[in-house]
Subunit: 341 residues, 2 copies
């Protein structure tokens, strides 16, 4: 198994990326890596880590870097010699089984769509991070690959998400819910109502609509929505948790008694923070692309890269790309249309 | 000033509603109330409270009740003798200045639109709750009155929200942000991009796009979005906070040390819960209706009703309905169209 890693993508690149890769290489023996980026820079970072089987590491020199400030479509087209485009090209030539990048989300999405390309029949790929809850994590898709969606995209998201959770995460018959502003079938936006109908026609275990209140309840394995709403859900959770912890800190520091209490509660606070830390779950797969693409968080540290490598190994071993292709191909054409629309 | 109150709307009606009304009557002298609902029931509840100036209370007998399970449009049309429809009719005859109901959100929205009607020129009314943050609260609109929106609705939401925060909440030149899945002007859904353009043409203090991460940062006074996204944002915050506190509780109970710590931190936890409790801020005004309509939370207790009465008094005293009418009438027709659409 070959995993190609964009060594120069992310806030902590290249040192954290290479450190994570080295840790993963020592941990598992069943894969080799191709690192893309500035050759000398990568070699210098690799030298810092001992006991790594360098026979399993190859480097593709691609010294340009795509930053988060660049317009993705322009960057992908112009910076042919960037670490990200080089990695995508390797995927498109089938010289690697999975790609990991902690670089610009927009550039990863654009690069994957333009260079690696979609699975035949897939209308839109979906960015699908695993989100934590107090009980069990769930897959949220789409989280921003497609701001404007059609019902047939959401139908495919339901199928792709369910296939991923079943095969990569080992959840038997995952329950799938649709984000809506009401529980009843008849409620919601035109998009949500039509998507409800189309998802009902598929084989996924469809649990119906899910209001905002239930998203983090741990009731569902897959939560489907358009990329605009999904992006807001994901980022709101991040911001809201941060705000809540900040408020709690302020309150705890306001009296001697609670300060003392806070010291005693420290490990409990840490556990909750860890439980809610979605970088623990690796990165977000970009489902619907013809090959594994894992978008790691921009702020990924070495530990997050190790998680992403674990996820990439599972992705490849499960054969989920082929399984998604098969599921998508099996939707009857008449089941992708909502009557009366 | 006359405030009409739906005595039979909400999970704790009529006792909590009447209790709240009695507390408010004792607290402030500048208003009288009309209570709608079953006359005997209301009289029995009123008898439980001493020291209330009954000269300021009148009752309109309307024994039917609209529940949350009923389809709003059918309920409003059929149950002419319900506490909610009676209250709406009083508003439409201008016999009261403001209405408070803790009943079914759908029925309140439908009743307000069909019976009290919109301010001339307002395309859609918006449900606009005040949301708490660690620093200052903000107005979020629309939170579910309109699942499908057009850019010109969001333009009006920006104006109405800004007018409300300035006049009712006393915020000078409130900053207005637009929910989007990216910070740059060029980012986002078609709706968000077109709304950005239209809001830019208004006089509001427009701070641009706001990603999910920033919603609860306390940076903005008014946050504008479509009713679908707003509803998800509101309910996600509610559900997420609950889930986080549940996880924290579990972790705190897992060791003797943290259990002891939790006892010492109890008042800090309570303060945070109180800070995040949006029932503290009264109800959500339904902006754009020709008269004050305050939708109190379904689970409102007496304290929440007192807050809603305070809000109703401010609403009426500020003359915000007339100010919204004036602002909406002053938008030049050519500024409600996005070029190229």
């Amino acid at each position: 198994m070959k995993i190609v890693i964009d060594a120069y993508g992310g806030d902590n690149a290249p040192h954290a990326i290479i450190e994570g890769v080295c840790l993963a290489l020592k941990k598992w023996n069943d894969f080799s890596v191709i690192l893309t980026g500035d050759e000398t820079g990568i070699e210098n970072e690799l030298k810092k880590h001992e006991g790594v089987d360098t026979g399993r590491v190859s480097i593709v020199h691609a010294p340009e870097i795509i930053t988060c400030d660049e317009k993705p479509t322009i960057a992908i087209k112009k910076k042919k010699n960037s670490s990200l485009v080089a990695a995508m090209e390797i995927m498109s030539r089938h010289e690697a089984d999975c790609l990991i990048s902690a670089g610009s989300t927009g550039a990863v999405l654009t690069g994957a769509t333009l260079i690696v390309r979609r699975i035949p029949g897939v209308k839109r790929p979906a960015l699908a991070p695993i989100m934590p809850t107090g009980t069990k994590p769930f897959l949220l898709l789409d989280c921003g690959a497609n701001a404007d969606c059609k019902p047939e995209y959401l139908q495919q998201f339901a199928i792709m998400g369910s296939t991923y959770m079943q095969n990569v995460m080992g959840i038997y018959n995952p329950s799938v819910a649709l984000v809506n502003n009401g529980e009843e079938k008849s409620k919601g936006s035109e998009l949500a109502k039509a998507s409800y109908e189309l998802i009902s026609k598929t084989d996924v275990c469809f649990a119906g609509n899910c209001e905002g209140r239930e998203i983090f309840s741990g009731k569902y394995d897959v939560i489907v929505t358009d990329g605009f709403t999904g992006n807001v859900i994901l980022k709101e959770a991040e911001g809201f948790a941060m705000e809540l912890f900040k408020m709690l800190k302020n309150e705890l520091l306001s009296s001697f008694k609670s300060k003392l209490g806070a010291v005693l509660c420290k490990s409990a606070f840490k556990s909750v923070k860890k439980l809610m830390d979605y970088t623990e779950y690796g990165g977000a797969p970009l489902l619907g692309i013809n090959g594994g693409i894992i978008k790691a968080h921009g702020s990924s540290d070495a530990k997050a890269i190790v998680s992403a490598v674990l996820q990439a190994r599972r992705y490849v071993n499960s054969g989920v790309t082929e399984k998604i292709a098969k599921s998508i191909a099996s939707i009857p054409a008449e089941d992708t249309v909502v009557e009366g629309l």
